[in-house]
């Protein structure tokens, strides 16, 4: 009788263990199912086209966007960014002294990444501003203006490099999981998640605008948005998205948005960067 009870208990524990393990998926499985979802949803769209956002889904919009790209609205920002990058700090050092990769060699594609010594996700804009602080300069704001111009210059110089985000250990995985949960969590008075628009309804229209697919979202930031009439960073856009669903936006470069960027960039692994972009 005792043996039967033992066996039953063991069986239950085993079942629990199996269900716990199967409930946790690994990032690569997440990414593959994410990519497969878009392949099925927009079956005629080439994988490489997703870096063009919503323009990948509509030929007329794509043609219009190409004509905008002939004289891109982010051009002024590129010039400003180049000047900032090449102007030495007061101590004589430059931005390049803070990085072991040049913009031309794909500095943009190195971010976001997990910094294990600090146990946090590092983004390009955070690294650029920390470089300023480390050299005795006042950091720029996080969302627009000079930080966006500088980021745009770095992105432009490194166009065509592949996104290769890695998740090296358990702490990084926890950050990824937080970003993933953020992405799929409904929030705000409209009770909508990032995925509600950019996964399940990608390609559908919200009034006159087409919802862009999440696949490829991180390839082209920072962007010049016609709505802003200026450049903006990814975290500026995150804040805008949150507010559009009547939710509380989080601080740019805070842990919430950095983890979100980490998750989204991982989903885009293997895609080319083509920032900065021009968007409506």
């Amino acid at each position: 009788m005792k043996i039967k009870k033992w066996l039953a208990s063991l069986g239950l524990i085993g079942l629990f263990a199996v269900s716990s393990v199967s409930a946790k998926t690994d990032p690569e499985t997440d990414r593959k199912s994410f990519v497969d979802y878009f392949k099925n949803r927009h079956s005629g769209v080439e994988m490489s086209a997703y870096m063009n956002g919503a323009y990948a889904l509509n030929q007329a919009a794509y043609d219009e966007w190409l004509s905008i790209e002939e004289f891109p609205p982010y051009e002024l920002a590129l010039g400003e960014g180049e000047d900032i990058w090449n102007t030495p700090f007061a101590n004589g050092k430059t931005y390049q002294d803070c990085f072991d990769t040049t913009p031309e060699d794909g500095l943009r594609a190195k971010y976001p990444h997990w910094d294990d010594s600090r146990k946090q996700v590092m983004t390009l804009e955070l690294a650029l501003n920390e470089c300023r602080s480390a050299n005795g300069e006042k950091p720029f704001g996080w969302k627009k203006g000079k930080i966006a111009s500088l980021s745009a210059y770095v992105a432009f110089q490194g166009r065509g490099h592949m996104i290769q985000v890695s998740i090296p250990n358990g702490d990084a995985l926890a950050a990824y999981e937080m970003g993933k949960e953020f992405y799929y969590t409904k929030r705000g008075q409209l009770a909508m998640s990032c995925a509600d628009c950019h996964v399940y309804n990608s390609g559908n229209k919200v009034r006159a605008d087409m919802l862009s697919p999440a696949l490829g979202h991180t390839t082209h930031f920072p962007v010049y948005r016609s709505k802003w009439g200026a450049m903006g960073t990814m975290h500026r856009r995150y804040g805008g998205c949150n507010e559009q669903v009547r939710a509380r936006s989080f601080k740019a470069q805070g842990p919430e948005y950095r983890n979100l960027e980490y998750f989204m960039a991982y989903m885009n692994n293997g895609m080319e960067t083509n920032g900065p972009g021009a968007r409506k």
């Binding site: 949960e181 705000g188 995925a195």
Partner: protein
């Protein structure tokens, strides 16, 4: 004596949730406004305990507006605002609980 205490205790247990229910779903007017206001504040504080989204942004301004309306004797307006605040606190709480561990639907 014991029986009286027991009966009054039981009655209290029955009446207290009833009063709260009345505040939650009942009519809001000059007499019940303070109760509705207390419930609205409690709903938002509850949402805060589970990291609900709406409490911080949506509470201070409407509470000020409700206080102004109350001061002006416009209880219809004050009640309208306070009921909305209460609704948002509840919804914020429910949303935060429901969305824990959210993941993809594919």
């Amino acid at each position: 004596m014991k029986r009286i205490l027991l009966v009054s205790g039981l009655c209290g247990l029955l009446v207290a949730p009833g009063a709260l229910m009345a505040a939650e779903f009942g009519k809001c007017d000059q007499d019940t406004y303070p109760l509705h206001k207390a419930v609205a504040v409690a709903a938002h504080e509850a949402a805060d305990t589970v990291d609900g989204q709406w409490w911080k942004e949506s509470m201070p301004k409407p509470l000020d507006e409700a206080a102004k309306a109350e001061k002006a004797g416009d209880y219809e307006r004050a009640c309208e605002i306070i009921m909305q605040v209460e609704h948002e606190g509840r919804a914020g709480y429910v949303q935060a609980i429901n969305q824990r561990g959210a993941g993809p639907r594919f």
